[in-house]
């Protein structure tokens, strides 16, 4: 399947958000995830399955004014 993560296209095997975060080396990082425009609470990472055409936004805190 093909999904878009932070604006970039990725080809992946079907997996959950939790599995994607492990794949991207983001487990335990201070991040927040939006899936097709909806927030995914941390408690739901394992339960949300990614499907072809899905969009993920993964964000973190950086310096700003």
């Amino acid at each position: 399947m093909q999904i878009e993560v932070n604006g970039k296209s990725e080809t992946l095997e079907p997996m959950s958000v939790a599995e994607y975060l492990a794949h991207a080396d983001l487990v335990g990082k201070r991040i927040a995830v939006e899936h097709n425009g909806e927030i995914v609470p941390k408690s739901q990472f394992e339960h949300v399955e990614l499907r072809d055409g899905d969009r993920l936004e993964i964000v973190h805190a950086i310096g700003g004014g």
């Binding site: 993560v5 983001l26 990082k29 993964i58 805190a61 310096g63 004014g65």
Partner: protein
């Protein structure tokens, strides 16, 4: 200082609010913020770099949510929708923290707030339970509308973001102070310590700044200067300045002079 101020459900000791952008590195950020004495520290929300340097230090490791009240901003958002999405992500990122700095920007030349989008975003965010501190223009009517919507603080600019021009609009700021009852915090425009003092002497509840500290030659020293400037300005406001006079008025008695 025992002088506290309250924004929504939060009470702060310091009336200086600081940003975390434009520093050389996180170490300098941490030292400057500490020296400023600020309780409230703004941050931005951005896409995580995927597959790049996974051990990169995180802002939240230096500016701990246990020590500071983090104020996530919506800087860079040009629409109400993007600002609302950013706030929802920030709330998730900070484990349910609802205090946010709403800013919806018009264009990169002025970074002037788009008040139409700002008003729309504020309505949605307040309805969703966010405590909204809102960056806005110095238009007193818009400030009143933002208060009516339920924003917990209005934050008019003193001059464009990052310009360091100092308060260009003291009459508008004063009018906002006289017509809204939520805290008024000057956000943007301060260039040096005296600018911050001017804002506080007008009666502003606080000043939010980033570039004035981060782009000083010595940011750590400027952070301390700003801390003192805010305290001085507040004290002067509370003390009440003497009236301005057109002509001199001798300080020493004019009687009893030797002849």
């Amino acid at each position: 200082m025992s002088d506290q101020f309250t924004v929504g459900s939060h009470t702060f000791q310091s009336r200086l609010l600081v940003g975390t952008g434009k520093y050389q590195d996180l170490e300098e950020t941490g030292r400057a913020i500490s020296e400023s004495g600020a309780d409230v520290v703004t941050m931005a929300v951005r896409r995580t770099n995927l597959g790049q340097n996974p051990n990169e230090p995180n802002l939240l490791d230096v500016i701990s949510p246990d020590t500071y009240v983090l104020l996530p901003n919506t800087a860079g958002c040009h629409t109400a929708d993007d600002a609302v999405r950013t706030c929802r992500l920030a709330r998730e990122l900070l484990d349910g923290h609802t205090l946010v700095k709403l800013e919806v920007i018009s264009n990169s030349r002025t970074l002037y707030p788009d008040v139409v989008e700002t008003l729309a975003a504020a309505k949605t965010l307040v309805a969703e339970g966010f405590e909204v501190m809102v960056y806005t223009s110095d238009d007193p009517l818009i400030a009143q509308q933002l208060e009516a919507i339920g924003c917990v603080a209005v934050m008019p600019l003193g001059a464009p973001i990052g310009s360091g021009l100092g308060l260009q609009n003291p009459y508008n700021i004063r009018e906002i102070l006289e017509t809204v009852s939520v805290p008024v915090i000057v956000d943007a425009g301060v260039g040096t310590a005296s600018d911050a003092t001017v804002a506080m002497e007008l009666g502003c509840d606080g000043v939010l700044m980033n570039t004035a500290i981060a782009e000083a030659k010595d940011p750590i020293k400027m952070a301390r200067a700003m801390r003192l400037a805010i305290e001085s300005g507040r004290l002067a406001f509370e003390a009440g300045r003497m009236p301005r006079k057109r002509y001199a008025d001798a300080s020493s008695p004019e009687t009893g002079l030797i002849e």
